[in-house]
C-alpha cells in the first residue's frame, strides 16, 4: 500500500441544469406562484391539495380541474430548526423547516420559516409568505415564510443646539485648558465639581471657581457590555471618580485597564487629549487611568 492516499476530486453536474416539463397541474401552481398567488387543486372527494398533484394520493383518482386560491397565510404543524444552514438552503442564517397548512388547504406545504429563534415556531404558529423580488415560476419564488407581524421598531431622533452660558461655560473653559474647575459652598464648605453657582444641598452661594487636580479615586463603578461610541472597547467601565479635594464624585470612563481589574478605592488620573486637539468639551478627557498608587480606604 502506498503511504500517502491517491485521491482525486470528482464532480457530477448537468451544466445549465436538467430541463423538466411540469405538466398542466404543477405548471398551473408554478404559474400562479409567479403571479404571487397560491393555489391548490380540488380532488374528486373535495379535498384541496397544496401543492397540487395530478392524482389524489388517497385514491389514485385524477384531481378535478378546479383550482382554489389558498393562503397566503398558513399554520405551522411541525418544524425543525436548522442551526447550521447549508449553501443550498433558502436562507443563509439559522431558520426553521416547517410543514405549513395554508388557509383553505387540506395538506401541508414544506418551506422555510425565517423566525430568528427556534422557540418562535411551535405548532400553531401563523406564518405568511415573503416573496422574491422577481418571481420566475419556482417553489423558491416564495423566499421564505415569516411569522405574523406583532411588533415594529420606531426610530427616534431629534437634533438640538445647546449653548453653554453660566457655570457650565466656566467649567468647560477650564477643561479647554486641561483643568477641572470646582466650587466651594460658602455656607457648608462642600466642594463641587463640575463648577456650579449654588449648593444643591444647602442652597448657599458658590463663589469663584477653584482648580482641582486631575487625580482622584474610584468610589463605585459599572461594567458595560453594550458598545458606546465614547468608550474604548466592550466591555468598558464607567465609574464615579472623586477628585482629590472634591466632596462630590464625577462620572467618567475608566481606561488603560481590563474591566475586571477595576475596583473601588483605585487611584486614577485623567488622561487628556494632546494640547493641540483640545476644545472646550468633555471630549478633552479621554478617560481616567490607574495611577498605580496604593488603593485608598473609602469612608
Amino acid at each position: 500500500m502506498p503511504s500517502d492516499p491517491l485521491v482525486a476530486r470528482h464532480v457530477l453536474e448537468f451544466p445549465g441544469g436538467y430541463t423538466r416539463t411540469t405538466g398542466p397541474v404543477i405548471g398551473r401552481f408554478l404559474t400562479e406562484l409567479r403571479a404571487r398567488r397560491l393555489v391548490g387543486v380540488r380532488t374528486a372527494e373535495g379535498r384541496v391539495l397544496v401543492p397540487p398533484l395530478e392524482y389524489d394520493p388517497a385514491t389514485g383518482d385524477p384531481v378535478t380541474g378546479e383550482y382554489v386560491e389558498v393562503g397566503p397565510a398558513g399554520t405551522v404543524t411541525a418544524s425543525a430548526w436548522v442551526r447550521e444552514p447549508r449553501a443550498a438552503h433558502p436562507l443563509d442564517r439559522p431558520f426553521a423547516w416547517a410543514l405549513i397548512r395554508l388557509d383553505g388547504a387540506d395538506t401541508a406545504l414544506v418551506h422555510a420559516v425565517d423566525a430568528g429563534d427556534p422557540r418562535a415556531v411551535p405548532p400553531g404558529t401563523r406564518v405568511w409568505p415573503v416573496w422574491k423580488d422577481a418571481p420566475t415560476g419556482q417553489i423558491t419564488d416564495i423566499a421564505y415564510f415569516a411569522p405574523e407581524v406583532t411588533k415594529i421598531v420606531s426610530p427616534v431622533r431629534a437634533e438640538y443646539r445647546l449653548r453653554a452660558g453660566g457655570a457650565l461655560r466656566v467649567f468647560l473653559e477650564g477643561v479647554a485648558r486641561g483643568v477641572f474647575l470646582g466650587g466651594r459652598c460658602a455656607r457648608c464648605d462642600q466642594v463641587y465639581v463640575p463648577y456650579r453657582t449654588s449648593c444643591p444641598e444647602c442652597g448657599g452661594r458658590i463663589g469663584e471657581p477653584v482648580e482641582l487636580p486631575g487625580t482622584g479615586v474610584i468610589t463605585t463603578f459599572a461594567i458595560n457590555n453594550l458598545p458606546d461610541p465614547r468608550a474604548p472597547e466592550v466591555p468598558f467601565v464607567s465609574a464615579y471618580v472623586l477628585l482629590d479635594g472634591a466632596d462630590i464624585p464625577m462620572i467618567a470612563l475608566i481606561g488603560d485597564v481590563p474591566a475586571h481589574e477595576v475596583r473601588q478605592g483605585m487611584r486614577v488620573r485623567a488622561v487628556w487629549v494632546p494640547e493641540e486637539e483640545r476644545t472646550p468639551s468633555m471630549a478633552n478627557v479621554r478617560w481616567f487611568a490607574p495611577t498605580g498608587e496604593p488603593d485608598m480606604e473609602l469612608s
Partner: protein, 339 residues
Amino acid sequence: MRDVAVVAFAQTRHTREDAGLSETELILPVIDEVKERTGLTRFGFTCSGSCDYLAGAPFSFVSALDAIGAWPPISESHVEMDAAWALYEAWVRLQHGDVDTALVYGFGKSSLGDLREIMTLQLDPYYLAPLGLDQVSYAALQAAAVDADRELLDGIVRRSRADGRANPYAPDLPEPDVADGPVAPLRAADLPPITDGAAAVVLAAGDAARELCERPAYVRGIAHRVEPHYLGMRDLGRSVSAADAARAAGVGKGPVEVAELHAQFPHEEVVLREALGLGGDTVVNPSGGPLAANPVMATGLIRVGEAARRVLDGSARRAVAHAANGPCLQHNLVTVLEA
C-alpha cells in the same frame, strides 16, 4: 406460493471512511463468502440494489457485475433502491418456478460525497429539491412531528451503539453524548454514521433450500407499501405504509422474537415499533441496526440478513426484517422469516 428461504448471508466489515476499494472490490468478498457457504457458483437469478448518485457514476451497478462473473450471460436485474427490494424482486422471480436459486446483493459507499445533499436528489424536483431540503433536515421534521420522549430516544441510541460495538461488522461508536445536531430536534448522536459496505444474500426455493442449508430461514411473508412522496401529504407522526406492509406480510400472526428495523434515526424506531405492532418481548436491532452501521443501499438487505441469521443459527424461530426507502419512511418493506 413456493417456499423460498434465505440460505446464506454475508456482509463486509463496514468502514466509516473510504478504504479506497472499487465497488467491485468491495462486493467480491461477500459474493465469495455466500458462494462458499452454499457451494453454488451460478445462480438462477441475480439482482442487486445500489444508487448511482452515491458514487456519482452512471450505471455503476453494471461495472459492479465484474464481481459476479457474468459470462456465459446470466439472468440479472437491478433496483435503484435499497437491495432489500432486490431481494423482493428475486423472491417474485423464484415464484415463477423455473429457477431455484437467486443471488441478491447491495452496496454503497456513502463516504465519497455529501450524503445529506445526495439524498436531496431523490426528492421531487418541483416542490422539494429546489429548497435544498437535505436528509437530516427532513428527518428532523419527522422527529418534530413524532415528538417522542427524549429519554426514550436516548435509550435507543445508547442501545444501538452498544449492540454495534458487540457486532464485529459494525464500526465502534462511542457512548452517545448530548451534543446538538445540525438540525433540531435531532441531536448529533441521533444521526447514523456515514458507512461504506456491502452485503449478499442467497435465496433458494423448494428442495434447493433444504439441500443448501441445514436450517433455512423461510420467507413466510413479504410485502411492501408506499405512501405519497410529498411530506405534507401524510401524517409524519406515524407510518401507515409500514403498518399496511406488516399486516400484508402477517407480522402479527405469531410472536416476533427478533426484529431488525431500517431505522436510521431513533424516532424512526419509535414509529416502526408502533406500525409493526412490536411489543416489549421483541428484541429490536440486536445487530445495532442502522444507527451503528448504515451502508446505504445495503442497510435494508442487511436487516433481512441479520434477521435470517438468527433463524439460520437457531437462536430464533421467528424474526421480522424491515427495510425503508424514500424520505421519512415513505416506502416500507416487511419480511417475516421462520425456521
